[in-house]
Structure formats: C-alpha cells, structure tokens
C-alpha cells in the first residue's frame, strides 16, 4: 500500500500529515489491481441489456443489470465466436469473467469468458424461438424428407469415435447386416462441437462418389443422452442447416427417447437412440437370406410345376388323339351304306320329277295361246253375225218412222209467217216517209234560233254595242286597273279593229293614251269571250239558260 506515497512528517509545519498523496495514474492503477485481485474470477447473474450484436471489431459491448444496478460488460471477439449461446437482449444469464477497470474514463466492467442462460426455462425459450424461425424457412417440411436406401453399401456415422454410442451402433449393425461403416470423428459437446458436426455432415456430402473415400448412402448423426446443455451443439443453427441441406439421407439419433434437438426436425428420419438408428438403416440379413432362399425354392418349384403341367397336358392330348383307321371306319361304313341306296334313290327321284313334269305339261297345253286365239275368233264371228242382224232390224224400223214423219212435213206454215212479216214492213216504211221532212224542218228552225242568240251574246256583239276590250302585250285581257302600270303598252280591241295604247297613269286613276292603228281582226281568244261573258253578266237576262238552249 505504500507505493506511490510521497508524504513525510514535518513537525511544526502546517502541512503535517501522515496521509499519502497519490497521483491519478497511481490511484487508478492501484484500484485496477485491487479490483482484479479481488474479483479476478466471478460468477455473475443478470439480465442482458443494451445488446446490439458484435461491434464491427468483433467485440461485444453491453451491460448486465438487475433491479437496481447495472454493470458494463465486454465479450472479446475470440471468446464470442466460441460461445454456445450468444447474448440476447433481455435474456437472464449467468456469466463468468473478471472485473477490470478502464483507467482512461474511471469505469469498471466485467470481461465475460463464458455465458449461459440462467436456468432451463431461458434455454428452452431460445430453443423454441430458433425452432420457429427455422421451421418458417421450411427446413423441417415433410416434403424435404428423403427415403432411406433399402440396403446401404456405405454408412456414414458422425459421432465420437470412442464411447458407447459408436459401439452400440456397430454392434447392432453387425447383428443385422454387417456393413461398411465410415466414422467421421467429432466432439459431441463443447465449444467446437457444433462446428465439427456441421463440417462432418457437409464433408460427407462433399465426397465425390468415385474418390478414394467412398461416399455414404446414408448418414447417422449420433450422440448419447445428456442434459439440455450437453446436447446444445445439436440445436446449433449451422448443424441444423447442414442436416437439412444434406443430399445423403440423414438419420438423427441424439440423446435418449425423450430428448428432442433441432437436428431431429431437420433429419430425414429421427431415431430415439443410436441403436434405433442402426436398426432403421439396415435390414436384417438373416431375414433377407431366408426370404431369398424361399423365393429361390418357389422359383425352382414353379418352373418344375410349369414343365410338369405342360408334359401332362401333352400326354393327355396325345392320348386323346385316336388311330387314323378308327377315325375313318365309321364314315366309310356310312358311305357304303349310302352309296348302295344311291341308284334306287336316283330312280325314285327321277320318276317323281317325271310325274311332276307331265302334270305341268298338261296344264301348259290347257293354257296354250293358240287355243285361246281360236276361242276368241269364234266369239268374234258370232258377235259379227249378231251385229249384222241387229243393224238390219234397226234400219228397217228407222226407215218406217221416217216415212211416217216425212208425210206430215209441209212449207205452208213458213210461207204464212213470211207474208205477215212483209206486210208489217210496208206499213212501217210508209210511216217513215211521212215523218222525215217534218223532223228535219223542226231541228233546222231550232238551230237557227240558237245561232242568233250566240251572235248577240258573243264578244263581238258586245263590242258592236260600244264596249272595248283591253289586252296586255301578251294579248291577255286585263280585268283590273291594278294590273296596269305606268308606261305599260296596251292593246284596245274595238268592234272594227285594235288600237295600240300606252298607260299614262297607275292603278285606279290611270288614263290611257294611245294612237289608233289598224289592228288585225280576229284576235279574240278565250280571254275575250270570258270578258264578253262578264259583260253579259251585267245584263238582266239569264245567261246560262240561254246557253243551254
């Protein structure tokens, strides 16, 4: 404790003290040594706080805390990479390490060497979370599972080369089916265990089939029973991924019946024990040999039976074949019998046909066309004679009737009718001669009357009475003063000729100036006669009745 102390005792002076005087570095160094001596190896329980993964340097800085205190913590890079269980925010952990100070800033902290979850509950929580994460990635899907080979040639075993586990496996394999076993030695617990198991699984898969080392047909990853912590390597994410990625069918056999690790989920088959794995991986040779022997026996027997059956079949067929003489005898006999009856039968048959033929020819003769013709001819002759007789009788009767009627016939009545008609004709001719001149004279005088009337009523008659008819250039009669404009050339028709004129005034008060000219006669037309009609209308006489005459 006297290091770094410079004090001396000066009696009578004001600074008389026996208190040591420190330098800052000296005190800081002393504190550091004190703490490191006193707390060089501590086991500390607390909750991880402010953990944000390893720093870019690879070291980890965070804090451990409880209800009322907080302690800075550091995990150096080298330690961190070996940790089975990494810190996790909020995780209750038990760490071992040493306390040291950081003199530059008056701080003290714990340098962690190991870290483990505080209690099984915490560990299980980590396990469950990891399982869920890997399951979500599909690593445990049933569809990924491969079938184990029926009879593997080479069996790869990832386990410790010493100990009960490999012994159990080899024993059981020997019992069932002695096989070629390749052991990939690994540590099954401890810091490097997970990495070794991962490398072993990937290593087996990486073997080229044709190399010096044979490639296994199936892999067993095995470990004996132990605590959750002991089996922790087989929950490692890298191990689980390697197992899931394995192209070689993989059987897991970690721990005992009740122990489940994450590799069990990723394996193609999970066995509760290493012995169980050996049983699943190979069949029992003795059983196979028995089955093969049985098959071989059946094979031979079946073939023999098949041959025997064929032979028997052939023999019975041969037996069933009769001698050719026997085959022919009966038909021959029948032939003879029949041949004997042949001539007789032929004669009978001919006779029968002969009879039938004669009957037919008789029927035919009856139906001969000559015969029918003769009969028809006779009928015709008879009918002819009858016709002659009937005709003679008829004509005689008609002649008689005619004579009788002819006697009564005379022209007297006709002549009477002609004379009567002639008389009527003469009478009518006379009447006509009297009436004709009278009718002509009557019609002539009526015509004359009408003609006179027409003359007095025609437009010329009107003009003769002193009226004039005014025509426009188109020689159409003008009926209204409104139709005349100033300067319009006009033609005035009088009874003895036309006068050309020009209108001096407008509608209403217009005067007409004109010069006399010798207009052509007979200009008339429909317009004029209508004018005449209108002019006549003013007269008291009834025009229509006049025209109707």
């Amino acid at each position: 404790m006297s290091d770094g102390v410079t004090g001396q005792n000066f009696a009578g002076e004001g600074f008389v003290t026996n208190l040591q005087e420190w330098t800052v570095s000296g005190l800081s160094g002393a504190l550091k040594r004190t703490l490191e001596d006193a707390f060089g190896h501590v086991r500390l329980k607390g909750e991880v706080s402010g953990y944000r993964g390893p720093h870019s340097s690879g070291h980890c800085y965070f804090a451990l805390k409880d209800e009322s205190a907080k302690l800075e913590a550091v995990i150096w890079k080298g330690v961190f990479s070996r940790l089975k269980i990494k810190p996790q925010e909020g995780l209750e952990v038990v760490v071992t390490g040493r306390i040291t100070t950081f003199p530059g800033s008056s701080k003290y902290q714990i340098i962690i060497e190991t870290i483990e979850p505080a209690g099984v509950g915490a560990l299980m929580a980590i396990l469950e979370e990891r399982r869920r994460k890997l399951a979500a990635e599909g690593l445990f899907d049933e569809a990924r599972k491969q079938l184990l080979p029926f009879l593997p040639t080479v069996i790869g075993v990832v386990t410790s080369p010493t100990g009960a586990v490999i012994r159990d496996i080899l024993h059981r394999l020997e019992d069932r089916f002695p096989s070629h076993v390749l052991v990939w030695p690994v540590r099954v617990q401890g810091e490097t265990s997970a990495a070794e198991v991962t490398a072993a699984i990937r290593g087996f898969n990486a073997l080229p089939g044709a190399g010096a080392i044979p490639r296994p047909d199936v892999i067993i990853v095995a470990r004996g029973g132990g605590s959750l912590e002991d089996l922790w390597s087989f929950n490692d994410e890298a191990v689980v991924r390697a197992a899931a990625d394995s192209d070689i069918p993989l059987v897991s056999a970690v721990g005992h019946e009740t122990d489940w690790t994450l590799i069990d989920y990723a394996a193609d088959l999970r066995c509760p024990t290493p012995t169980g794995a050996a049983e699943k991986v190979v069949p029992v040779r003795r059983d196979l040999a028995l089955r093969l022997a049985d098959l071989g026996r059946r094979h031979g027997e079946a073939m023999a039976r098949l041959g025997e059956r064929r032979r028997t079949g052939l023999r019975s067929l041969v037996r069933a074949l009769r001698r050719p003489e026997d085959l022919v005898a009966a038909p021959r006999q029948r032939l003879d019998l029949v041949a004997g009856k042949l001539a007789h039968g032929l004669a009978i048959n001919a006779r029968r046909h002969e009879i039938a033929l004669s009957a037919l020819s008789r029927r035919l003769a009856r139906l001969s066309p000559h015969l029918q013709l003769e009969q028809s001819r006779a009928r015709l002759a008879r009918a002819g004679q009858q016709l002659d007789r009937c005709f003679a009788a008829n004509s005689h009767r008609y002649a008689r009737d005619f004579m009788r009627v002819a006697g009564r016939l005379s022209p007297h009545s006709l002549r009477l009718r002609v004379a009567r008609g002639r008389e009527r004709l003469v009478l009518a001719g006379d009447r006509l001669g009297h009436m004709a001149p009278e009718i002509v004279a009557r019609r002539g005088s009526a015509l004359e009357r009408v003609w006179k009337l027409i003359e007095s009523l025609g437009h010329k008659g009107v003009l003769a009475r002193g009226y004039a008819l005014v025509l426009d250039e188109g020689r159409q009669p003008i009926r209204s003063a409104g139709a005349v404009s100033v300067g319009m050339p006009l033609t005035i028709m009088l009874s003895d000729g036309d006068v050309d004129a020009v209108a001096v005034g407008g509608a209403g008060g217009g005067k007409v100036s004109g010069e006399k000219a010798a207009g052509g006669q007979g200009s008339g037309g429909r317009g004029v006669s209508r004018k005449a009609g209108e002019a006549v209308k003013t007269a008291p006489s009834n025009q229509s009745s006049l025209f109707d005459i």
Partner: protein, 106 residues
C-alpha cells in the same frame, strides 16, 4: 421438339423389345448393377408369374433363367456383407484426407 419425342419413343420401344426378346444372356448384363432390393423385387415378380403359370413356354424359360441370375446376384450381395469399420482422417483444416481402420474396443 418433335424429334426429341420420336427419339425418346424409339429408345423406349427398343428398351421394351429388349426385355421382351428372350435370349437370356444378353438380358442379364444389367443384373450386376442392380441394387439388392430391386433384384429381389424383380425375382418376386418372376416367381409370381411362374406360379400363376400364364407364361408362354419360350418366355417362361427366359424369365426362369433371369430369375436364377437374380437369385445368384442377391446371394452374392448377402454373402459379401462384412463389417468393415473405418475412420475418416482429417487434415489440419478439417477436410477429409483418407480413411484408417477404426478399432472400437468391444
């Protein structure tokens, strides 16, 4: 595309005619490479057919011969089985370099 199909078909028909053609010896060339369970399954099929007896004489002789060969192959595989235990030797960087016998005290 169509060419692929036709060549495939041709190879198929060739394959099937090979198995149907029953000259025995040429048929049995493939047996040596058959895994145990395949050979056993085929032997079972042959035995079943012979026992049913609905095989023509010529073919029955052919498949009988093949059955015998399959049986011999299976027996050889069973007989060959012996325990051989080896350990992978690793290089310093953890790669497999070879094998050595592993002596597990039993």
């Amino acid at each position: 595309m169509s060419q692929d199909v036709s060549t495939k078909d041709a190879s198929l028909t060739k394959g099937s005619s090979l198995t149907k053609g029953s000259s025995g010896a040429t048929d049995q060339a493939d047996i040596a490479a058959l895994p145990f369970e395949r050979a056993l399954a085929e032997l079972e099929q042959i035995v079943a057919r012979l026992e049913r007896g609905d095989v023509a004489l010529e073919e029955s002789l052919a498949i009988y011969e093949r059955g015998e060969a399959l049986k011999a192959h299976c027996e050889a595989l069973l007989k060959r089985a012996e325990q051989r235990i080896e350990k992978i030797t690793l290089s310093s960087d953890g790669r497999a370099t070879g094998t050595e016998p592993l002596d597990v005290e039993t």
